[in-house]
């Protein structure tokens, strides 16, 4: 999604003035943006705490600021700067974390982002954006740009080779009909599941939904989805994020507070490093039961 993100930011730069700060990352991806922005493209160096606070200062004097890094360096290293300088001050800095979940694979655990949106959504005003497809990125960038409070954009990798059938971006989308329960995925895993399920007859597959925006205060699943969940024999929730602070916990909390029925539940989520060994993103997914075959087997 980095290429799509860069293109969207280049397009945005033609329409509005903003600062883009990177923690010395973006090689072979963000050069076109650097070219377009000139001195408004700020390589803040390997100093993420400073970078986030500098962005806060820019926002405080009325400028728009984006902050980019590998996901954990974007939200974990400068967490107090996000909490104090952005969220307490209600400053609309846009954080962009590349490589959500296990996306950095065998680069190792320090480069994974397994608790990013759970941690950030505990902060006041924060909204997390998790686009599922390359085709979502432009609309997501527009949505993030339009916010007046802090945002976190988690970039991953699309899991569809052909995105022609992808419905227009929306925070909640139904990707396909189905009669065998409801499956809701957060961001990119929806693509792989869609590929695996779409050849099945409607009677033999779950309704597939993807959610791409999570918010502390306005968590509002569409009525159509809630009705489907209320009728479903099984609900499967899929996300590359640990259970604590997850979408799954939020969704179940929402159902419980509304007095809604909870179907038979499967929550497929990241489980860290159970074997103490490391590998590709797909290897880690497999180890956690987050890969497509494991999810299909759970239906």
């Amino acid at each position: 999604m980095r290429t799509a993100f860069c293109s969207a930011m280049v397009e945005l730069a033609a329409e509005e003035r903003y600062f883009f700060l990177t923690g010395d990352l973006g090689f072979m991806a963000l050069e076109p943006l650097r070219e377009v922005l000139g001195d408004r493209f700020v390589n803040a160096g390997v100093a993420e705490q400073n970078m986030v606070s500098v962005a806060a200062g820019m926002a405080r004097v009325g400028s728009k600021a984006w902050v980019y890094s590998i996901a954990p360096f974007c939200y974990a290293r400068p967490f107090e700067q996000i909490r104090n300088d952005l969220c307490l001050n209600r400053l609309a800095v846009r954080l962009v974390g590349n490589g959500g979940g296990y996306a950095y694979g065998s680069m190792g655990a320090t480069h994974h982002a397994l608790e990013d949106y759970g941690v950030l959504l505990a902060l006041p005003g924060m909204r997390a954006y998790i686009p599922a497809f390359d085709a979502d990125v432009r609309a997501t960038v527009r949505a993030v740009s339009g916010r007046t409070l802090p945002s976190y954009l988690r970039l991953g990798r699309t899991e569809l080779e052909d995105e022609l059938a992808v419905p227009s971006y929306a925070p909640w989308r139904r990707l396909q009909d189905g009669e065998a329960g409801v499956l809701i995925a957060v961001g990119p895993p929806a693509g792989g599941l869609w590929r695996a399920l779409h050849e099945r007859p409607v009677s033999d597959r779950p309704a597939l939904w993807v959610v791409s925006e999570l918010d502390e205060t306005s968590f509002a699943p569409p009525l159509e989805l809630l009705e489907a969940v209320s009728r479903a024999a099984k609900l499967v929730l899929v996300e590359e994020h640990v259970a604590q602070g997850s979408f799954g916990q939020r969704f179940l909390h929402f159902l419980a507070l509304g007095g809604r029925r909870t179907p038979n539940l499967v929550h497929a989520h990241a489980r860290g490093y159970p074997s103490g060994r490391y590998g590709s993103q797909s290897w880690h997914r497999h180890e956690c039961g987050l890969d497509v075959p494991a999810i299909l087997a759970s239906l």
Partner: protein, 261 residues
């Protein structure tokens, strides 16, 4: 910038503010007086004789909030009534500055090591936007044990920002010891200088010296040689006054001493 004649007024304004600060902390039974008294003179200088309306001030040493509130009160920017709510339930005058209610308090501070990088962001945006205005940032000396200060210093020097001035309240005492004992920080000015910053040393209680240094050295780090607890004999250079509140007897003595200044 204001006229140098106004500098003549600064000692009187500082004496009045010092008395009000002690009263405010006594009535609310709140400590942190030592670092407020060391910082008060520079706050009076900045807000009365240095800053223009388009300038910003950030109190990176947020635990000197009382001194900031009193300085703003002395400018008429905080009312006497509001000052009376310091630390009380429902107040806007918390022990560390909170955001969203005063243009004179651009951001919440209190956790050390945040104010300087925020100030740099304000200054960089203004510079690249072609906007006027200077940013002043007051830090403590112990605060320079935070890694983010050095991240910020590297960034500042690399960006060559002249529209930021940093003031360091060099009172030599921190929460649980002296800066010398805790982290061998007595040589802070030279360390900062080693990063390429211009460093100026002044007596942090000499209003004319502070004002002239800040006016004549925009973009510098001004090391304010101060006394923790300045103005109250039993507090001066005593670490415990980083935290302790005043008893009634101590308040009476402190007030007498300040009246005689």
């Amino acid at each position: 910038m204001r006229s140098s004649e106004e500098c003549e007024e600064l000692p009187r304004l500082a004496r009045r503010a010092r008395r009000r600060l002690i009263k405010m902390h006594y009535e609310s039974r709140i400590g942190h007086l030592g670092g407020n008294l060391s910082a008060l003179d520079v706050l009076i200088c900045l807000h009365h004789a240095v800053m223009s309306p388009e300038d910003h001030f950030i109190l990176s040493k947020g635990h000197a909030a009382g001194a900031l509130y009193v300085a703003l009160w002395s400018r008429g920017l905080i009312s006497e009534e509001e000052l009376g709510t310091f630390h009380a339930d429902g107040t806007r005058l918390a022990g560390h500055p909170v955001p969203g209610w005063s243009a004179s308090i651009p951001v919440a501070t209190g956790s050390l090591g945040h104010g300087l990088p925020v100030a740099l962001g304000m200054a960089l945006a203004r510079k690249l936007n072609g906007e006027e205005g200077h940013v002043y940032c007051l830090t403590s000396d112990g605060e320079w044990q935070e890694g983010s200060m050095w991240e910020a210093l590297i960034f500042w020097r690399h960006r060559q920002l002249r529209n930021v001035t940093v003031l360091v309240d060099l009172n030599g005492l921190q929460g649980f010891g002296s800066t010398r004992e805790v982290a061998s920080m007595e040589d802070l000015g030279r360390r900062i200088e080693g990063f390429g910053a211009e460093v100026v040393h002044v007596d942090g209680h000499d209003h004319r010296a502070i004002t002239e240094a800040v006016r004549e050295h925009p973009g510098a780090v001004v090391m304010l040689h101060t006394v923790k607890g300045k103005g109250v004999s039993f507090m001066e250079n005593r670490m415990e006054w980083h935290y302790l509140p005043l008893s009634a007897e101590q308040y009476a003595v402190a007030l007498r001493e300040l009246e005689s200044l």
